[in-house]
Symmetry: C2
Subunit: 122 residues, 2 copies
Amino acid sequence: MRRDVFQAIADPTRRAIINMIAHQPLNVNTVTENFDVSRTAVYKHIKILTECGLIEIKQQGRERFCEAKLQKLNEVSDWVEQYRQFWKARLDSLDNYLSELQSKNDSKTKKKNDGTSKRTRK
Amino acid sequence: MRRDVFQAIADPTRRAIINMIAHQPLNVNTVTENFDVSRTAVYKHIKILTECGLIEIKQQGRERFCEAKLQKLNEVSDWVEQYRQFWKARLDSLDNYLSELQSKNDSKTKKKNDGTSKRTRK
DNA sequence: AAAATATGCAACCTTTTGGTTACAAAATTA
DNA sequence: TAATTTTGTAACCAAAAGGTTGCATATTTT
């Protein structure tokens, strides 16, 4: 039974659950009301999210409130961000290309150009 | 056949494949060599990654090179980042708590404190 | 041309996933 | 106390996922 964050957020229903409780904790029945699958199905999703640490259950009377613990999303964030350079590189190239194009065009139409319209990217 | 980026990166083998070809394109056999499953299994993973746009296949003679197209990871990045406030908030609270504690402690032990050791977070 | 190499894919199998119904147990309410 | 509400979980099912072997096809190599 693999139970990591990547697998947990792969399911669209689970992502929707996370979205629901991100703002405020909700009990199991309330979460269920927003889906057209059974309470048991939703409960299983909640259990998976609990097992990988994305949510925590707090009992209050006969109800259990699901509280989002989104620190765990750091794992995903870290993994994704390590590749940002690989998809940013091309955008930068396009940027340079466009701004070169712009310069050429500028010098063709008007001789004066202070360069303020040049696109930049940090 | 659901084929979205979240589902694609849920499998650890596929994440490993992405990692391999992020730096330079590799042909199918070379990718396969690094795993202990069959070429067919790896091929299926590559197909899934292709179908959701994370990699592109370029034929070159009898070989096919797999090239990473990681722009699609933006979908994941965007989804995760929208929640950052929810897990950053608590760290900030802890930070404030710790720095308050520090102040109290400082004023108890030595009267003089220029505050340079105070923890800050932007 | 023949052999070797690199790949795509069908057919099949087992395990996992996501869902269901049915029932039990604990807490609240009437 | 009896009825209601909220939840946990067992038992079961169909479909999807991840894997395998075997074979066909296209390109090089020899």
